[in-house]
Amino acid sequence: MSVDQATVRRIAHLARIAVKDEDVPHLQQELNAILAFVEELDAVNVDGVEPMTSVIPMKMRLRADEVTDQAGSAVVVANAPQREDHFFTVPKVVE
């Protein structure tokens, strides 16, 4: 399978990465090189094979649903590029 330029733009948008027009052709070329590389997998018979979902077979542990982190909101927002008081701020979302 290979991707066309419209697909490259669609993937970039799904990935929320702005892509300049002049970058699209070489991105297309690179993605197609990788997709050509993985094409080899089509040759493998995977009928009746379970996909791996757990690398080391183990039971999923559960814990009590309770507050474990008491760091507080000042710590939580400390690394935010923009904040007001104890809130993250973003461009206006609702008109």
Partner: protein, 506 residues
């Protein structure tokens, strides 16, 4: 007398225990070495004040008889481990200025055991790369120099763009370079497709990726969560064993962490390999493999046979599918893990017309080309209509890869011997063609191990015709790290400790 920074970690530990050297003296020697080696680019942040304060506290604990197993030993930490209040960016621009309010479990355990932090080490951005050239902070030079280069020539390149100097491998390039250049006694590293073993092989150092679940991933910047695993790079097999004991262990904060006791790995070093069955997988004899890699491999078999091990031919039929399957699974998981970098909670923010544009501009400015490429591939293979054809199929192939190994182990194989890399180190700027797959082929021997969740160790086994280090890889059963340490010590003894380069960079 040997310089303090040229001691092995075990020798330094014993010297501290015998009180022939203090933690502060040992740390100061390393702080000085790090400062003089700045031009290599191995460290992205140095923390000398913290190191000396930690060393002082170590000396106090030694005086009061409370020394831990790594007391006073200076280490380098790969930039993807969260270290409280210290630069932690996985060498990406998108984590610009990030200083975590918490400590990763693995580094926390190292400090618990008395180790000293010298600073944070360079790496490929988000651990995506095999040469350390994708780092936002620039490439790292290996202390090994290209064949026939004079010291003057190497120094001149180091003062410029580093082109032509050798890569230390990646993604743990800073770790490997720093250890090989005697800037730290050992370093933390991480391995998603070969990022501990390939740089260890390129620099004449030892690195182990333990079994998936052996070390906690909590506080490690995530790349591909079902493949990522922490491990050390050090100058000897014994030093790796000492490091792993402190790094490993159950952590309730990581749901994939395995609740099993941590053995004293050092006890396995020097253990007999008599009667062990060492498998030689015929599928690793890849097309175009160089004669010197093949000769190294056969040499390794001879050494182990001479030590009493039995060499047996095995088949791992799905080997050739591991790398392509990896380039579906790893980018898919990366695209999901890296979705968190949105310019809101931490790191970089670029302005945008609206919130969606802000996300897109931030991510365009913050991710380098290799990371962007992998996020896009991952997004594509997970997108509607392609999920089954790519992602589910790759995960099925992963099951087949694991079954290949299980069959070999079931037949009585204790460990598997392979080359670590298809070639010795290449030059900075040498592999920047339009085809990203060329770089990916570096991981052809290591990636199967991550896909199957097994432990893998790279140990120096000789030099190439041009005098560059070459490594062998040992692959173990799940939680078979002790066997790997025993077998690796045989190789280290037989090959002789690597003579690491003299410091030409100062």
């Amino acid at each position: 007398m040997t310089q303090l920074n040229e001691l092995t970690l075990a020798q330094a530990r014993d010297a501290i225990a015998a009180r022939t050297v203090s933690a502060v003296e040992l740390t100061q020697a390393h702080v000085d070495a790090v400062e003089k080696a700045r031009s290599l680019g191995a460290f992205v942040t140095e923390t000398p004040e913290r190191a000396l304060a930690m060393a002082k506290a170590s000396d106090a604990r030694i005086a009061s008889g409370d020394a831990g197993p790594l007391e006073g030993l200076p280490l380098g930490i790969k930039d993807l481990y969260a270290t409280r209040d210290v630069h932690t960016q996985a060498c990406s621009h998108i984590l610009d200025g990030f200083k975590p309010a918490y400590e990763s479990t693995v580094t926390g355990q190292l400090w618990r055991d008395g180790a000293v932090m010298l600073g944070k080490l360079n790496m490929d951005e988000f651990a995506m790369g095999s040469s350390n050239e994708t780092s936002f902070y620039g490439p790292v030079a290996s202390p090994w120099t290209p064949p026939n280069w004079s010291k003057e020539q190497a120094r001149a390149a180091l003062a410029g763009d580093k082109k032509g100097l050798l890569v230390p491998g990646g993604s743990s390039g800073g770790s490997a370079s720093a250890v090989a250049a005697h800037l730290c006694l050992a370093a933390t590293a991480s391995d998603t497709g070969g990022s501990i073993r390939q740089p260890a092989a390129f620099t004449g150092t030892v690195g182990i990726k333990p079994t998936y679940g052996r070390c906690s991933r909590w506080g490690m910047v995530a790349f591909a969560s079902s493949l990522d695993q922490a491990g050390p790079i050090a100058r000897t097999v014994r030093d790796c064993a000492i490091m792993l004991r402190s790094m490993a262990g159950f952590d309730p904060k990581d749901t994939t962490s395995v609740d099993a006791p941590v053995p004293d790995y050092e006890k396995a070093v020097g253990g007999s390999v008599k009667g062990l069955k060492i498998g030689i997988p015929k599928e690793y004899r890849v097309e175009g493999m160089s004669e010197e890699i093949d000769a190294l491999w056969r040499q390794g078999m001879d050494w182990l046979r001479a030590a009493g091990a039995e060499i047996v031919d095995i088949s791992l039929p799905h080997t050739k599918y591991a790398l392509p399957a990896y380039y579906i699974v790893a980018p898919a998981e990366a695209s999901s893990n890296l979705a968190r970098y949105d310019g809101v909670r931490y790191g970089l923010r670029a302005p945008g017309r609206d919130i969606s544009d802000m996300y897109e501009q931030t991510r365009a400015a913050g991710f380098g080309p290799e990371v962007r490429r992998r996020i896009m591939i991952g997004t594509y293979v997970l997108s509607a209509g392609y999920y089954d054809a790519y992602y589910v199929r790759a995960q099925k192939i992963r099951t087949l890869i694991r079954q290949d190994f299980e069959a070999a182990f079931h037949a009585g194989v204790d460990a598997i011997l392979t080359p670590a890399t298809p070639s010795p180190a290449f030059g900075i700027g040498e592999k920047t063609s339009a085809d990203p797959v060329e770089m990916y082929l570096n991981d052809v021997f290591t990636v199967t191990v991550n896909m199957a969740g097994l432990p893998g160790l790279a140990v120096p086994a000789g030099l190439s015709r041009d005098g560059l280090p070459l490594g062998l890889q040992l692959i173990g059963r799940p939680f078979g790290e002790e066997t790997l340490f025993s077998v690796a010590q045989i190789v280290e003894d037989a090959a002789g400790r690597v003579r690491l380069p003299e410091p030409w960079w100062t």
